[in-house]
């Protein structure tokens, strides 16, 4: 187990280092997030709908799209110079590769969300200060769920035609349960309700994460084995 994690960390570190050095993907994803937020601003009538009613949806639709964009590039990187084949022949277990990609994707999406959240607060003037800690926890909980399935699927779609289109079509249905849960919990939090009101949703989010992390870890080897 220690070995698996050590290898996973080495690969994740490589991915993040590449991301950090080039920054193209990160900057595009962050700008994309900001743009989606502005699209929402102009796609509604601020005099008719109070921002607070719309805020959870705005936040989560933005995060969904940003995550999708980030996941599309997860394995794209490995296609150049057949880097994926190199990774597969190296003495690293498939589980390590999956966890490495998962970890790198979570960090990547997390950083983009880290840019998106303050912009969301700024643009829509939503008072998140008092509920910041639980809100961040919910974002993390839902993001892990998205990314667990997304990492598995992005490993498959890179070798299909129309990969950029295929990922959203396959992945969006899988984003629905965490999305519904996250929107519900965010709405309650922003309305100042206690977390004890949403334990059902929290359990659902946690169950989704556990089930799909396990399933994806089990299924990932079949998507890359030759």
């Amino acid at each position: 187990m220690g070995e698996v994690l050590r290898h996973a960390w080495a690969i994740a570190r490589k991915d993040l280092l590449l991301e950090y050095r080039s920054r193209t993907a990160f900057v595009s994803a962050a700008v994309f997030t900001a743009l989606v937020l502005t699209v929402f601003e102009f796609g509604r009538d601020p005099t008719a709908v109070p921002t607070i009613d719309l805020a959870p949806s705005i936040l989560w639709v933005t995060f969904t799209f940003a995550a999708m964009l980030a996941l599309n590039r997860a394995f794209q990187l490995e296609l150049e110079n057949q880097a994926l084949d190199g990774l597969l022949v190296s003495p690293v277990s498939r589980t390590s590769i999956y966890w490495a990609k998962l970890c790198a994707n979570c960090v990547f999406v997390g950083v983009v969300e880290g840019v998106g959240l303050p912009l969301f607060v700024l643009f829509f003037d939503v008072p998140v200060g008092p509920v910041l800690a639980p809100l961040v926890a919910i974002i993390a909980l839902a993001t892990v769920g998205f990314v667990a399935v997304g990492t598995l699927f992005s490993a498959m779609v890179i070798r299909t035609r129309f990969a950029e289109l295929m990922l959203p079509v396959l992945l969006l249905p899988f984003m629905i349960p965490p999305l519904i849960g996250a929107v519900q919990v965010t709405a309650r939090l922003l309305a100042g309700r206690p977390l004890s009101e949403v334990t059902g949703w929290l359990r659902l989010l946690a169950a989704f994460d556990i089930v799909f992390l396990t399933l994806a870890t089990m299924l990932f080897p079949t998507t890359v084995n030759e």
Binding site: M156, V157, V211, T222
Partner: protein, 226 residues
């Protein structure tokens, strides 16, 4: 007799029986008191939904068996079942709103079971798009098996999350802990229709499976070569 021919006979027989279902439902089954004629669609809608669910269940099961045994017959069966399932979910999704408009006063509502079946349809479509986008046979089989299994695991989550969200759909009247609350005559019509739709599923799958066999025997990637 080849499999395709047998499939054609089974389909033909079930189409004749389907006509009998219509006759029995319209002429020999009493009208429901509060819903009137609109309720008759129930004898088509519910069995179609059953066949679609059966198709998804078998896609998942065949996917698991494929990954364990690496036998391409399971892959072809899953593909056939998904294709037929798409057709049945379309029947379910078109008959549902026709009933819902006079009874609920709206064509569509985001109730738990409606959402579930809509995503069942999306999963079927995504499954077939994925198959069409991968040209290599072994890759296609493994990818679609992964999606089939994930899809089967996803459906309970969608159901649960929308159920927590809101529900409006009629409560179960046949498969429930207590005895069915449907009058005997109606129950017989419904069960008859269930049988016919199952037979229809079998007939369609036999033909689709035979077609997949022929396609693989011809050596091509089949529909995915287009």
């Amino acid at each position: 007799m080849t499999l395709a021919q047998r499939g054609r006979w089974v389909t033909l027989a079930s189409l004749v029986l389907l006509a009998a279902v219509y006759v029995r439902a319209l002429a020999f089954t009493p009208q429901e008191l509060s819903q009137g004629l609109a309720q008759k669609i129930f004898y088509v809608h519910v069995p179609a939904a059953w066949s679609a669910m059966l198709a998804m269940g078998l896609v998942g099961l065949a996917s698991i068996l494929f990954l364990i045994m690496k036998d391409y017959r399971f892959d072809r069966f899953a593909a056939a079942s998904a294709e037929v399932g798409t057709a049945f979910s379309l029947v379910m999704l078109t008959t549902g709103p026709i009933w819902a408009k006079p009874i609920w006063g709206t064509w569509w509502t985001w109730d738990a079971r409606l959402t579930l079946t809509l995503f069942l349809f999306f999963l079927f479509v995504g499954y077939q798009l994925l198959r069409g986008a991968v040209t290599e046979q072994s890759l296609r089989a493994r990818y679609s098996a992964v999606l089939g299994i994930c899809g089967l695991v996803l459906l309970p989550f969608i159901h649960l999350s929308v159920y927590l969200f809101r529900t409006l759909h009629p409560m179960p009247i046949v498969l429930k802990p207590s005895a069915p609350s449907l009058p005997g005559v109606m129950l017989v019509t419904l069960l008859f229709s269930f049988g016919v739709f199952t037979l229809l599923y079998v007939g369609f799958v036999m033909q689709a499976y035979a077609l997949a066999n022929a396609r693989d025997a011809a050596g091509g990637g089949g529909g995915s070569d287009a």
